[in-house]
């Protein structure tokens, strides 16, 4: 050192330099690219809706027999047209850990704050996406299926035709939350154990699903499974999904605490 500083130096301490918690800034990191988080999914969803409306219009125009038409429209309650948004949420959840985690550590945050901030972002986005879907479901309900008897947002898995808006919102919200956290926790397994972790995880998952299917088939309990879903209803199934969501949140936290992003 060439400075001639003679003033007494105070021992440096670990006092934070001003700003407090970083949980909110981390949550904001996830939504800084509005295009990716808001605009793109909304636009794709609207495009799918448009395509569906054209298809419904073709059905209404070309199927003239009222019985056949009612039959065709009845099948729409099983429509999976909105499925893509939930896949998008899984991908966003995975990217949150895959891309934002290495960046956040580069911004000198703790893994704990990263996970809490991400969870906050997931809750916020699930509420936003849920509200958007609810709005469209309410419009769909009020316009008698966009004037054509079409169904895309009032499908059976999300409350069907007669659910109230808050029932719909609750179902959408829980479903999005599930998708975000499941995407995130799988990505965390990758952060922690890389390719080997992925191989083991998906092998274990496949065996688990196969084993469950085999067990149900061998004990001839498929009807019982079907009636459980019918009895539990959409609300019940989504409530059960919250258990997996919570489990993902806890497991993800424990894994990320021991993870190091690699270049």
């Amino acid at each position: 050192m060439t400075t001639t500083d003679t003033s007494p130096r105070t021992a440096p301490t670990a006092e934070p330099a001003g700003s407090g918690s970083r949980i909110v800034p981390i949550a904001r990191l996830h939504v800084v690219n509005r295009m990716q988080v808001l605009l793109v999914p909304a636009m794709i969803l609207l495009f799918i809706l448009l395509v569906n409306i054209v298809v419904w219009w073709l059905i209404v125009r070309s199927v003239t027999d009222p019985v056949d038409r009612a039959d065709a429209l009845d099948g729409l309650q099983w429509s999976g047209a909105s499925f893509y948004v939930f896949v998008y949420a899984v991908v966003l959840g995975a990217q949150a850990v895959g891309f934002v985690f290495p960046y956040a550590l580069g911004m000198s945050v703790t893994r704990r704050d990263f996970w809490l901030g991400s969870a906050l972002a997931f809750v916020g986005l699930a509420a936003l996406y849920g509200a958007f879907m609810t709005l469209f479901a309410v419009i769909e309900q009020a316009t008698g299926g966009w004037g054509l008897g079409g169904r895309m947002f009032t499908v059976l898995y999300f409350g069907g035709e007669d659910a109230t808006w808050y029932q719909r919102f609750g179902l959408f919200f829980a479903a999005f939350l599930f998708c975000f956290f499941v995407g995130a926790v799988v990505s965390t397994i990758y952060q922690r154990w890389r390719v080997n972790g992925m191989l083991v995880f998906f092998a274990a998952l496949t065996l688990l699903l196969l084993g469950t299917a085999a067990l149900i088939t061998l004990t001839e309990s498929w009807p019982a499974v079907g009636s459980w879903f019918a009895a539990t209803g959409a609300g019940g199934v989504v409530a059960w999904s919250l258990v997996i969501t919570a489990l993902s949140a806890v497991v993800g936290f424990l894994l990320i605490r021991r993870s190091t992003p690699r270049g």
């Binding site: 130096r9 800034p25 290495p102 911004m107």
Partner: protein, 296 residues
Amino acid sequence: MTAVIEAEGLSKHYRTVDAVDDVSFSIEENTITGLLGRNGAGKTTLMQLLTGQEFATRGTIRVFGESPVENAGVLQRLSFIKESQKYPDDFKPKHVFATAPWFFPNWDAEFAARLIDDFRLPLNRRIKKLSRGQLSAVGVIVGLAGRAPITFFDEPYLGLDAVARQIFYDRLLEDYAEHPRTVVLSTHLIDEVANLLEHVIVIDQGRILLDDDAESLRGSATTVVGTRAAVDSFVGGREVLHRDSLGGLASVTVGRLDPAERREAAELGLELGPVSLQQLVVQKTGATTSGIEQSA
């Protein structure tokens, strides 16, 4: 002077390699320290340990007197700019400069804008599409404008041209003079940064080879050039760091010489020359020159 970084018996062992092996050192507050060594010497791992990104196998680390691992109070005062930094998909440089101030309380937006200009960095291009040099510039700007009390630069110059590297060194020195802070710079372009460094730590195969003031290192070795016979008689029993011979001439690097020894060499008709930091490191790490990149 107070030590802001202290490592004691620090080791990081991976399955097949001891990346950092029983290392102890300390770094003083408000100095620029060079962390020098060959590729794979353990420089990056050491910095990852000091910034809490990697977990130590053994040993202790104290940064501002506390362990940095998952310690928000410590981490908030650190900045770690690494060559391999990943950015979120679809991020553009403008997103980085919009978000970095949330995490670095001393962020100077004006300084950042000036650096963006200096490096001619396109703000609106996807990070994925930036050239290697432009990508490095993003990190350099975050590290400089963030003004964290301790800033680590891990080979921050990759892909930067000579002009851009000089800009980095100049701005670092200027800003350091105005806003003193602790800087740890890992590099193998040693000649380029030699004048910046106040302290030098040389690491090789996970162990520390040298840990000294740059000033005292500069005079710590001398090259003696002359006829082989004269050189041999002068060198005698001294420890020889390095020897080159060409026909009847010899060039030998020895340790520090006192004035009497210098007179003796002059009387023997020998030429004395300084040894650059880079040559010193090359010789200490037992490498041929090709092991360390020649500065461009």
